[in-house]
Subunit: 337 residues, 2 copies
């Protein structure tokens, strides 16, 4: 089988995970990863045998740490069929001209402005729409988590209105600069947050309002859903529907994000990542045609398999979304937790 | 003016604040406070000149620290016209027999089972209902904060449904035992939380669902409101209505609980307490006949003025709720922040 060549521009929280997952796919070849600053993550790239590319002007920084540089970032781009841009928020757009110069396909992440690509992506909701496209943007962790629930429900029921409260982790575990340390921060103070607009990029015409705040924890986000359905519904039908979806865990005997992460550690999942939505089964409630539920979202990993599926769609490697989703999910280990 | 005698059973987070506020009222006399364990708070009671009562069996513990004990807790009860029970959650019910023995009026706090008194209390919502009553329960901080918003809105508009997400502080600032430290804890995992039922004790027939979780912060709670109103509404009417209510601050230029507490510290408010609801003005949004807003609630102090008003209602000191509310609010300093 001919493998398509994938380059990863940016080797941080998202990039290092996408690189690993690309390396596990039998239809993809990892050309290499780019890095601007040498740090412990560079050691990981070396241990995994990934070629490291950097901007030529930063080469000397890596020499100081005896880290071999394979080439300039433009070499990485020119040798790739598709680039997954995992540079920090708002940096991805600065590479757009270079990507165009080499006529490479590109996937940006959710931190970029939605207009950077004409289409945004979520595996279960619109895999087919990105088929053969040149540019895409994989929506961010919270939007991904919301779409995975709303899309299947919207296929089966008439959704009147959705309100999601998003309680976000303050920062990622590796971050030593950000907070908050003892505060609840409205981010933004205005309602709706951008997530509602982003969901509508994936599921058009859905009536959704989101409110988003940050709290002092690093592990996972939490969502509180209120889905107003315009008909009488049965809780068993909802549970049955959700349980059949890929990348959705229905969790019992658990009431917190820390217990979930401990469970992932005990399962020896790589980096204790949980890339599925985690719906707390005991929270699913139906009253007056409204569905209520809690779910938690692992911000570092939820979009990783979506990037792999997005590559398959754009490179026309699989026509059917479920074929790609299953291939991705089975590439490391049995993900069902 | 004859003053009524008020005893405070329990001198912790709530009790010490109620004691201070009772001592500032010109129609009340503080008989004293009860305490089971000598700690730094006992020093505060002594510095303020409050008589300390304890269970006779604990007297020796206080002797070790040279703390004078004025008498047994039963002496405190028998010398009072009304007791404000500020003992820890679920302890208040153990005193009920002793209170009955001395035929004293009693106010319990929201941590007790709602059935401990036939009526629950919130100043603005049902002051008149407690007039002359023997027993009352002042609802907890979150329920108080919710009632203060919903009651005035329910008088003016037809509320179809309310959904409040409650993001609770993990514990109080002085606590050295509790968490969570790095987790989001669903408390409870089931929906609705007890707050919805408690609000209905105060505002009957209101259609409300609440969801409650705890996060690693000590400063304040945060509420996310979605109030579904069955008519077209104007944002200016809502802001105007809320701005006229007592104990509601409309806050601008602020996006977090920590900035609010810093503001209270800069204002030199006692203990940096903020007993008003703090509605973030920039969050008030109206779409499709739904009101959305954030408010933060200072868990240590919000119910303190409600206890004072409850005393006035039960002791028939003021007939009109606004007379009591204004008297309480003006007794320390101008509270409008």
């Amino acid at each position: 089988m001919k493998k398509i060549n994938v380059g990863i521009n940016g080797y941080g929280t998202i990039g290092k995970r996408v690189a690993d997952l690309v390396s596990y796919q039998d239809d993809m070849n990892l050309v290499g990863v780019s890095k601007i600053n040498p740090n412990l993550e560079s050691n990981i790239a070396i241990k995994r045998g990934y070629n490291i590319y950097t901007d030529n002007k930063y080469k000397n920084k890596f020499k100081l740490y005896d880290i071999d540089i394979h080439g300039d970032i433009e070499d990485l781009i020119s040798n790739s069929d598709i680039i997954v841009d995992c540079t920090p928020k708002n940096i991805g757009k600065e590479y757009k001209n270079i990507y165009e110069k080499y006529d490479v396909k590109v996937i940006w992440q959710g931190g970029e402005n939605p207009n950077i690509a004409s289409k945004s992506f979520n595996s279960i909701s619109n895999y087919e729409e990105l088929y053969g496209e040149q540019y895409a943007r994989v929506v961010s962790c919270n939007t991904t988590g919301i779409c995975r629930i709303l899309y299947p429900i919207s296929l089966k029921f008439n959704i009147k209105k959705v309100f999601v409260s998003i309680i976000r982790r303050g920062t990622d575990p590796r971050d030593i600069k950000s907070g908050p340390l003892n505060s609840i921060v409205l981010d933004p103070v205005s309602i709706p947050s951008h997530h509602a607009l982003d969901v509508q990029k994936i599921i058009p015409n859905i009536n959704i309002v989101t409110a988003s705040l940050k709290v002092p924890t690093t592990l996972m986000h939490m969502h509180i859903f209120n889905i107003d359905i315009d008909e009488n519904i049965n809780i068993d039908d909802i549970i049955s529907l959700l349980s059949k979806q890929p990348r959705i865990n229905l969790i019992k005997n658990c009431t917190s994000t820390s217990e979930l992460i401990e469970y992932s550690r005990d399962l020896l999942l790589p980096r204790n990542d949980i890339w599925e939505n985690n719906i707390f089964l005991d929270s699913i409630t139906i009253t007056d045609k409204n569905i209520y539920l809690y779910q938690s979202i692992h911000q570092e990993s939820i979009v990783i398999p979506e990037n792999i599926d997005c590559i398959r769609s754009m490179m026309k490697l699989e026509k059917n979304k479920y074929d790609s989703i299953n291939k991705t999910d089975n590439s490391i280990c049995n993900r069902k937790i």
